[in-house]
């Protein structure tokens, strides 16, 4: 069964078609990347899939649940780590995790259990009592992902998770994302070609709200007749794929 299936998913803002009849499917446990230049429609697609904005037309089904008709059920199986670091800056790392645990209705015992598990998984031991506002960008991203994971989502949306991070912090986050593969379906949006190529099972490339191609990184290179994934991306987006 597909984790996500979109059917002619469309979003129009006044005169702009942000997402145009998007049809794609994502398998369960897959790490699926959405690529595209600015304004391609990646973030709008994620906003629709995570029930933040309603589609103008079409629908999407997450584990068979409609984003239009059953948003509450969809929200119970997803989690989002937004583009900007979405943490409560005045709270400690532990308090941020407790906040999200409480929001998902966990008992105190379950919250403690999940916090211990995520602290170990994300290596948060050294910062667990620190205020989120005092953490570096890399740690805030880790916390942001931990906050997304605490609700035990079946589908995790990571919107530009490594944006603005240094090389080491990015490498650490890649390891973390790899460690999650297979346990949760991950939808990743990124501007970094090497990131998408290194992490993804399949990649969708969008431009002007339309899906141009959706395949593995190797197949996309083959289709574009390019040696590197970056070249393939440029060829496809510029419409010069062979």
């Amino acid at each position: 069964m597909d984790a996500i299936r979109t059917e002619n998913l469309t979003k129009v803002y006044k005169d702009t078609v942000a997402v145009d009849s998007l049809n794609l499917s994502v398998r369960r446990g897959e790490l699926f990347s959405l690529l595209g230049v600015n304004g391609a429609g990646k973030t709008t697609t994620i906003k629709m899939l995570s029930c933040l904005t309603r589609p103008t037309s079409g629908d999407a089904f997450l584990h068979g649940k409609s984003i239009c008709k059953d948003a509450a059920a969809v929200k119970s199986i997803i989690a989002v780590s937004p583009q900007e670091t979405a943490v409560a800056l005045g709270l400690s790392v532990e308090e941020n995790l407790r906040l999200m645990g409480g929001v998902y209705g966990f008992t105190k015992e379950k919250q403690a259990e999940k916090i211990a598990e995520l602290t170990e998984l994300l290596g948060l031991e050294t910062v667990i009592k620190k205020k989120a506002g005092k953490l570096s960008g890399g740690w805030q991203r880790r916390l942001s992902i931990a906050m997304a994971l605490i609700g035990e989502p079946e589908i995790l949306f990571l919107d530009e998770p490594t944006l603005g991070l240094d090389v080491l912090a990015r490498s650490d986050l890649w390891d973390l994302i790899r460690s999650l593969k297979g346990t949760v379906t991950i939808i990743l949006t990124t501007h970094y070609m090497e990131e998408a190529e290194a992490l993804s099972d399949r990649i969708a490339i969008m431009k002007d709200g339309r899906l141009l191609i959706c395949d593995t990184a190797d197949k996309i290179k083959e289709t574009a007749g390019a040696d590197t994934f970056e070249q393939a991306f440029i060829h496809i987006v510029k419409g010069v794929a062979k």
């Binding site: 904005t53 119970s76 989690a79 780590s81 409560a88 308090e95 409480g102 998902y104 997304a148 609700g151």
Partner: protein
């Protein structure tokens, strides 16, 4: 559970800011002490402790408007709210989560003012308790105003509108700092068409043990609170959908 978790977070964010503690809890106290000192030297009936204290407890709630508006506006400006919108939290969880933590802060502020007033000569009577109870609907009024402003304005705009404009408006039009009868005319009519002076008159009546005097003003306060809360919910839902 979700509401309480979110309310707990909001309480921590508000109470961990030392400026909030000073303006929320300390500033009304400073006003009572200062005006009582002036009253001791230049007696004015309006600033006698039994008149001054109810007024200051209501005026101090203008800071609750600022707290509620600021926390919502800041959350709207960050991605935290966007993250929470994708969770099972309902609009009611958000509204109650922003409202509930400020109610006990309002009561604490009111209690601090009355304790100080007792030390300054206010007789200890059961009517002080009535006045503290009556502060609850007034708190709801001021918090609702904050929820509305926070749902409409950015955190920078909130600072100017709630921090300066509303604080001044609620001060001038409340009859706390000068007798509205001295100005009279249109100014007084405008003041009595708004809820601030009704809140002060209600508090004064409660403290004086004049229970009949509470009710006409209570309806004004509750009416405005209900309308403002309704508008705040509508505006909050609107900006939630705008995501």
């Amino acid at each position: 559970m979700r509401t309480l978790t979110f309310a707990n977070r909001n309480a921590k964010e508000i109470l961990r800011d030392p400026l909030n503690l000073f303006f929320g809890l300390g500033f009304p106290l400073v006003l009572i002490l200062l005006l009582s000192a002036i009253q001791a030297n230049i007696p004015v009936a309006l600033f006698e402790i039994q008149h001054l204290t109810p007024g200051v407890t209501v005026f101090g709630l203008a800071f609750m408007t600022l707290f509620s508006a600021t926390i919502i506006a800041k959350d709207r400006g960050s991605s935290l709210l966007q993250r929470l919108y994708t969770t099972p939290m309902t609009p009611m969880d958000f509204i109650l989560g922003y409202t509930l933590p400020i109610l006990p802060i309002s009561v604490a502020q009111c209690l601090i003012c009355y304790v100080a007033a007792v030390f300054l000569g206010l007789p200890v009577t059961v009517h002080i308790l009535s006045a503290v109870v009556c502060i609850l609907p007034v708190s709801l009024l001021y918090i609702s105003l904050g929820l509305l402003c926070g749902s409409v304005f950015t955190d920078k705009q909130v600072g100017g509108i709630c921090g300066a404009l509303l604080t001044n408006l609620s001060a001038w039009l409340s009859g706390v700092w000068f007798d509205l009868n001295l100005v009279g005319g249109t100014f007084k009519r405008i003041a009595y068409a708004l809820p601030f002076v009704h809140a002060v008159d209600m508090e004064r009546a409660a403290l004086a043990g004049d229970f009949g005097g509470i009710f006409p003003h209570l309806w004004w306060v509750l009416g405005y609170a209900a309308v403002l809360l309704g508008l705040a919910v509508l505006c909050f839902l609107r900006q939630m959908k705008k995501q």
